[in-house]
Symmetry: C2
Subunit: 234 residues, 2 copies
DNA sequence: CGTGACATTGACAAGCGTCAAGGTTCGTGG
DNA sequence: CCACGAACCTTGACGCTTGTCAATGTCACG
């Protein structure tokens, strides 16, 4: 009785969690959620804080509640390549023990749920619904990754920048036209495989053409969605 | 008794299947494998044959036994972008009903196992081990995809071509130095985000430098692995 | 032997990276 | 509250890498 109450109190934050609707924990019933929540812990990350490093043995897996994280590789010449963004309700980590192929870093101040990898794996083994939910999410992540690859393939700098803005508007976006950028110019460049100068110039050009406005460095207002889509060229 | 015998006869090809060691079906015991095999069918594909089209409702999922398939998107200007390769024991398809984001086409003559999506999903729902095996594979596929993205990011044409050759040597490769290319020059270009001319020039340069030899258009001999790795630059 | 797909090679132009010089924003400390 | 410095961003000039266009070469198949 006491135990059940304790569990219920553990679950409480989960029940109001924004990520639960689409996150993998949404697959669990109340009792399992209680047990699951007991294995995880909530944590805040400041912008720029790195949770796991490329090459690490993966001790943790992460479920994002709010904010945006990035997955990065460092190239031979010390330059950083962003290989993925992790949005609320998304999952990151290497649940089957393979060494981390990317570092995980907060792009914005964020809230996450952390789980010890071993415990998470046990939970996966014993909770079929959780495994299926994670499988679903992973397939979605694969599709998104392929979209991103299309962006890096045979596309001009202008198309890449426009495409990124559209993607940010869609993913991060509430219904407003104002995008709050989770990425700095340098990070956009690292994601798109361009230089910071080229990103800056392309944004400038879009702004000069009246397609977007740049009220401050961390915001973009989409003025002409159709023309922006045309610039993205796909 | 009769039924069991029939199942066993169904399974027979599976037991000798090269893909089973690493494929998702390797997670199944004899009885489940029999039921699984009964839902799938074996099929040969000729080079160039397309199994599923971008945008299709996904009726099938595929497990590759031999050969190599490609996943492609077509851009706005009709150009083709390859967003992934599917090797033996790999899995392709959209098991949760999302429309296909890429076409699936055979790069070489291939053998595959096909499953009706609905039946496959039922099997996933009822066989936890299969779900976990597929989850493992999908995480590996995600990591590979990120490697590929690193290749398309901030890397020169020469680095991309060298990197692709190394990847092919590793993945497709037996212990020999001779790589049998599953890709035409055009397909290499589509994969690397380059033009066919640039790919050709880079291969020519590597050949002139003695790093590789090009005995015929579908083969590459790696003469100096270390220098090739240096050219790949990561 | 001929025909068509595929690949190589060359000349040229443009897009983007590189280098360099300002300009803006933000936080920190006087 | 202002001044200063550091991080971040923008803008310009220039050159290299790569795409484009075009011609030629080579292989596979009828």
């Amino acid at each position: 009785m006491y135990r059940q109450f304790e569990q219920a109190s553990n679950v409480e934050p989960c029940l109001g969690c924004a990520a639960r609707v689409h996150g993998i924990c949404g697959s669990l019933n109340a009792a399992d959620l209680a047990a699951f929540a007991a294995t995880g812990r909530h944590r805040r990350l400041a912008r720029g804080q790195t949770l796991m490093w490329e090459g690490d043995a993966p001790a943790l897996v992460v479920n994002v509640i709010s904010g945006v994280l990035k997955l990065t590789n460092v190239g031979a010449s010390g330059d950083e390549q962003i290989v993925g963004l992790v949005w609320p309700a998304d999952f990151a980590g290497s649940p089957f023990g393979a060494p981390m192929k990317a570092s995980v870093t907060a792009l914005t101040d964020s809230e996450v749920c952390l789980f010890a990898r071993a415990e998470f794996e046990t939970f996966l083994d014993t909770h079929h619904d959780l495994a299926l939910a994670l499988l679903r999410r992973t397939f979605v992540a694969l599709d998104q990754m392929r979209d991103l690859m299309g962006m890096l393939g045979r596309r001009s700098a202008g198309q890449r920048v426009a495409g990124l803005l559209l993607a940010l508007a869609k993913t991060g976006g509430v219904e407003t036209d104002r995008i709050s950028l989770p990425l700095s110019r340098q990070e956009m460049a690292d994601l798109l495989g361009l230089t910071i100068e080229t990103v800056s110039r392309q944004l400038g050009r879009l702004s000069d053409d009246g397609v977007i406005a740049l009220p401050d460095r961390r915001s973009v207002v989409v003025r002409q969605q159709d023309r922006l889509a045309a610039c993205a060229g796909a």
